[in-house]
């Protein structure tokens, strides 16, 4: 019996299968577009830009792309494969970084600092809360330091070799401060040699940075050093005493220059007077000698007459000049009041004193 070939499997429903296939086709197209879109987004997310103060390194599967200096990407737009293939590590090379050392500073809060207030000083310092430095003469002072630094090019050390480089920088700074304070006396830090103290910190910190290969460059160190707040007045008193000493010494110096100038002037005056006296004497004696020389022939001519003439002439002149003249015979007595009043007072009303002569 002829076996009828089975009827071809019936296409379930021509129109419905058509619709399904259409729907599949269109959804397939949508998926395609979506996938292409996703791929584009995926690749596009690999764009990144490096700022002007940065460098960047691409790690492909964890390994830096490029050798030596070539692995460093400069400022500008760049592209890397997105995660998990590539990782971009940025290095802020020329950007200023800063850390603050407060191991030597009393306990305070940012809010208090902003308000410019400080906690009241206590009689002792609790080591868990309060920071301070011990100086070489076993005194206590407070020093706060601000360090500005830059990452030394290329900066790979700083980024890849340390779990927390800025923390280590801060500790190196702390250590340098403790080191420097331990060999300075309290007045050396606070007044006498503050610059030297800072220089020593700088020096020690440079040394530590080299030893620990932190790969940074110190830009600036700012320090504030104060005596313990518990002894503020005492330290002020020393400052005042110093000011007083300065004043005393200045006054003495003034006195010194004045006294020496006066002595010099007086000396010059005396010398000048001596000079003048001496000249006058010489001149007058010379004049005297000249007169003598002129008179000598006359005198020699007739000494007695000469003498008499001159005597009389002199007498005449003296008598003319004399204010009061008294003639007395020998044996007559004269009473003299020695205590004559000064001439100025003569204009005053007459005194009772009798004018005894």
């Amino acid at each position: 019996m002829p076996v009828e070939p089975p009827p071809p499997p019936e296409v379930p429903d021509d129109s419905s299968s058509q619709a399904l296939s259409d729907a599949l086709k269109s959804s397939f197209a949508i998926v395609k577009v979506l996938m292409i879109g996703l791929v584009l987004v995926f690749l596009g997310s690999g764009f990144f830009s490096v700022g002007p103060q940065e460098k960047a390194v691409i790690l492909r599967f964890g390994r830096p792309v490029g050798e030596g200096d070539k692995m460093l990407l400069g400022p500008g737009p760049h592209w890397a494969f997105p995660y998990p293939i590539d990782e971009v590590v940025k290095i802020p090379v020329s950007q200023m970084q800063s850390v603050r050392s407060t191991v030597g500073w009393y306990a305070t809060t940012p809010a208090m600092e902003a308000a410019g207030t400080e906690p009241p000083p206590e009689a002792s310092l609790n080591p868990a809360r309060e920071g301070y430095l011990l100086t070489g003469d076993a005194n206590i002072i407070h020093v706060r330091g601000d360090l500005s630094y830059r990452i030394k090019e290329p900066g790979l050390q700083y980024v890849f070799k340390f779990a927390n480089a800025s923390n280590l920088v801060q500790n190196a700074f702390n250590s340098a401060m403790v080191f420097a304070a331990s060999r300075y006396d309290v007045d050396g830090v606070l007044t006498r040699d503050f610059a030297g103290f800072r220089e020593l910190i700088h020096q020690r910190l440079t040394q530590l940075i080299d030893q620990q290969q932190l790969g940074i460059v110190i830009d600036q160190i700012d320090l504030v050093a104060i005596p313990p707040r518990q002894l503020k007045e005492r330290f002020l008193a020393v400052g005042e005493a110093q000011a007083r000493r300065g004043k005393l010494i200045n006054e003495a110096r003034n006195y010194e220059s004045q006294a020496i100038n006066n002595a010099r002037a007086e000396g010059t005056r005396r010398k000048a007077a001596a000079e003048a006296d001496s000249r006058l004497l010489v001149a007058s004696v010379a004049a005297e000698a000249e007169r003598f020389t002129q008179l000598l022939p006359q005198y020699r001519n007739n000494p007695e007459l000469f003498m008499w003439r001159y005597q009389t002439e002199t007498f005449q002149r003296v008598m003319t000049n004399a204010q009061e003249k008294w003639l007395m015979r020998p044996g007559q007595s004269l009473r003299l009041e020695l205590d004559r009043e000064p001439p100025k007072l003569k204009t005053l009303p007459q005194r009772a004193a009798e004018p005894g002569h």
Partner: protein, 300 residues
């Protein structure tokens, strides 16, 4: 059919992603990877890059941070001369042998730091206890052993870490804080206070004595200047006298006349002003007023 091929592609992609995720791993350039087979470490990979492995549970990858870590510790110690010091050090350490480190600490850095704490404590008592207080702080450069103490502690901890096979390396150590017990700070304040007092009085007396020294030196100097000037003046006068002596030679020709003239000048200047004269009427030429008087000299 297109639909199937799409499904196939998607499936393959998923399989590749899953396979990659299970059988590949990355080692970053800051890390070292330790691969364990059924829990036993078989190899360590220090070179960064991408690597293959068997999927878990056959192989497992543990990553160990190779960077230098910061560890700090704080302790009260007794110096060899009996002072209590509060010492705080920081240590830079890293993992240098992951094969040793890994089984010891299970890859945990915090566990390692716990052991490190013990090492540092040993170094405190072992090293610091051998130094007097003046090795920590002193104004004498010779006394100070600050850097030496740091070095000794570092060497001690390095040696201990090595001996214990921790697989870690201590790179550096620094003292970051040096303090005194709270009760001692009070005493220090008292001492500082009296030091200030002494300083104030010393500065004061120094100022006074310095000023007095300057003043008396000035007095001395001005007296000397005056004396010099006086000497010079005397010399000038003497020179003048010497010069007049030449003129006096003239008078020697006729001493009688010279003495007469000098006396006359003297008398005249003596009687120049506001004089009261009391005279004997016999004094020439007043005797002319007397009757019968004659001038004795002109009569000749």
């Amino acid at each position: 059919m297109k639909y199937n091929s799409l499904m196939l592609t998607l499936g393959a992609l998923l399989a590749v992603v899953l396979g990659t995720w299970l059988c590949m791993f990355q080692v970053r350039n800051t890390e070292v990877a330790v691969v364990t087979r059924f829990g036993r470490p078989t190899r360590t990979i220090a070179q960064p890059g991408a690597y293959f492995k068997w999927p878990p549970p056959i192989h497992k990858v543990h990553k160990v941070d190779q960077r230098t870590h910061n560890f700090e510790s704080f302790e009260q110690v007794l110096t060899s001369d009996g002072y209590n010091l509060l010492l705080s050090v920081y240590v830079g350490w890293n993992i240098n042998d992951p094969k040793m480190f890994f089984p010891r600490f299970g890859g945990s850095e915090s566990k390692a730091q716990g052991s490190l704490e013990g090492l540092v404590r040993n170094a405190y008592s072992g090293v610091v206890g051998r130094h007097p207080f003046s090795h920590f702080v002193s104004t004498e450069q010779k006394e100070l052993k600050f850097a030496e103490i740091e070095n000794e502690m570092l060497q001690r901890i390095q040696a201990d870490a090595q001996a214990n096979n921790y697989g870690i390396e201590i790179k550096f150590l620094g003292i970051k804080k040096l303090g005194l017990p709270e009760s001692v700070t009070k005493l220090v304040f008292e001492r500082m206070q009296s030091e200030r007092q002494v300083l104030v009085s010393r500065i004061q007396s120094e100022g006074e004595s310095d000023a007095a020294t300057i003043r008396s030196a000035a007095d001395l100097e001005s007296a000397k200047l005056l004396a010099d000037a006086e000497g010079e003046a005397t010399r000038i006068r003497a020179m003048g006298d010497l010069e007049t002596a030449k003129s006096f030679k003239v008078f020697e020709q006729e001493p009688a006349l010279a003495s007469f003239l000098l006396q006359r000048d003297g008398l005249e200047s003596f009687l120049k002003d506001r004089t009261t004269l009391v005279l004997d009427p016999d004094t020439p030429p007043l005797n002319l007023l007397k009757p019968g008087a004659t001038t004795p000299k002109s009569g000749k």
